[in-house]
């Protein structure tokens, strides 16, 4: 730092930008974490060039290198976040992504050493400033990477949620809701909404909830089921719960869950038979006229 405590790094980088870029690229291309299969060298070059450019521009403004959350760094931050997100989607690992920033350390330190050869005290100070800056940028990269991954997970969860709750019309006035997978509050909400919506659309009087595919039934799941049944009843539709396996019947009784107000059947076929009887219909074998 010079007499008024300001770092000389921005000015040094700006002066030696092309040399620094070349060294940085060499460092990145030599790194073991390079993923030539996922990314072309030309793309990497372009990204590195743009990013270094932004760093130079941001560093030359107030408040300099100390605070990367300042407005001056906005452009660089967005760019870095974009890179991290796209790498997260492409399948890079976190360390492979963070290498992008951390590989700049070596070339930058070499530059500092060359520039400040005669002044060890200043060299140490500037080294510290540079390390702090790159660490912050590196952490920021990792955070953005993580966020990108989380976005993917959330999207997949939503897709799964939509896929997993089909309401099918079995017969005129009879709906079936085959549930597969664990029931949690969020899913119950979706199940309930789609069932009630379908009841309104079709005017069905009976809904069969089949839980053959639900691996475990605990008190919470039972409560969710009862809520769905109550809501359907308020709309004027009766519910039948089917597909209760022997173990689940045992668990329900052991847990003391009260299912007495609900019609339960062991299989969907039984439930369907009840539904037909309720709607005063019956199926008979066709008489062979041939």
């Amino acid at each position: 730092m010079d007499s008024n405590g300001k770092s000389r790094i921005p000015e040094m980088i700006a002066r030696n930008e092309s040399e620094l870029l070349a060294n940085w690229l060499r460092e990145q291309l030599a790194a073991t974490t390079l993923r030539g299969d996922l990314m072309k060298e030309s793309e990497l070059r372009e990204q590195s060039r743009q990013f270094l450019n932004m760093v130079v521009r941001a560093a030359s403004q107030q408040p300099g290198l100390d605070n990367i959350s300042a407005p001056a760094w906005e452009e660089a931050r967005e760019f870095l976040a974009g890179i991290s997100r796209s790498r997260a989607h492409q399948g890079f690992s976190p360390s492979e992504t963070a290498t992008f920033v951390f590989s700049l350390k070596q070339p930058l330190f070499s530059l500092l050493r060359k520039e400040l050869e005669g002044d060890p005290r200043k060299l140490a100070d500037e080294m510290w400033v540079a390390t702090a800056l790159l660490d912050k940028l590196g952490l920021f990269t990792t955070e953005a990477y993580q966020k990108g991954r989380e976005e993917v997970i959330v999207r997949q969860q939503q897709e799964l949620l939509e896929l997993s709750t089909p309401v099918v019309v079995l017969w005129e006035g009879v709906l079936a809701l085959p549930l597969i997978g664990t029931l949690d509050s969020a899913r119950t909400q979706v199940v309930m909404e789609s069932l009630l919506q379908k009841i309104v659309e079709t005017g069905a009087g009976i809904a069969i909830i089949d839980i053959t595919g639900v691996p475990t039934v605990d008190t919470l799941v039972a409560q969710h089921l009862l809520k769905t049944v109550s809501a359907a009843r308020l709309m004027g539709a009766d519910c039948i719960i089917s597909g209760i396996r022997p173990q689940i019947a045992q668990t329900i009784v052991h847990l003391g869950v009260n299912l007495t107000d609900v019609i339960t059947k062991s299989s969907l076929a039984d439930a369907f038979a009840v539904a037909l009887r309720r709607s005063r219909m019956e199926i008979t074998r066709a008489v062979n006229h041939g």
Binding site: Q189, M192, E193, L196, Q197, I199, V200, G203, A204, G205, K227, S230, A231, A232, R233, L234, M235, G236, A237
Partner: protein
């Protein structure tokens, strides 16, 4: 003063709630309805809430109360046309209206009432042919 009309159709009373219920209106309806049941000796009450978009615990309880009062006056109550969102809200509030019968729409509610009426006649020995 605002009032919810109560229509008489044969032996049954038809109440269509087409405005958002507030507490005072609910109490007025309760008064009017019990009086009307007693006066007309109605056998059934059909409450259509298909236009009702907002319910709270008070309105939910009021529906339950009306049904209970009507039962005391020997009239069956059927609540029809509840919207999905309303049903979910009531269940989440813990009000599953155990004593109230429900139907999807007015038509189904009416046939339910008539069915119940016929059964009662049979019980009384009036419906036998």
């Amino acid at each position: 003063m605002e009032q919810i009309p109560i229509l008489k159709m044969g032996d049954y009373l038809l109440v269509t709630i087409q405005v958002d219920m507030h507490d005072r209106l609910a109490l007025t309806l309760q008064d009017d309805l019990t009086e009307k049941i007693a006066k007309t000796r109605a056998r059934g009450v059909l409450i259509d809430i298909s236009s009702l978009e907002i319910v709270d615990s008070f309105i939910g309880r009021m529906l339950g109360n009306i049904a209970a009062m009507a039962r005391v006056l020997d009239a069956e109550t059927i609540v029809v046309g509840m919207r999905p969102a309303v049903a979910i809200t009531l269940v989440e509030l813990g009000l599953s209206l155990p004593g109230v019968r429900t139907a999807l729409n007015v038509e189904k509610g009416m046939s339910l009432l008539q069915g119940a009426g016929a059964e009662q006649e049979n019980v009384n020995g009036l419906g036998e042919r």
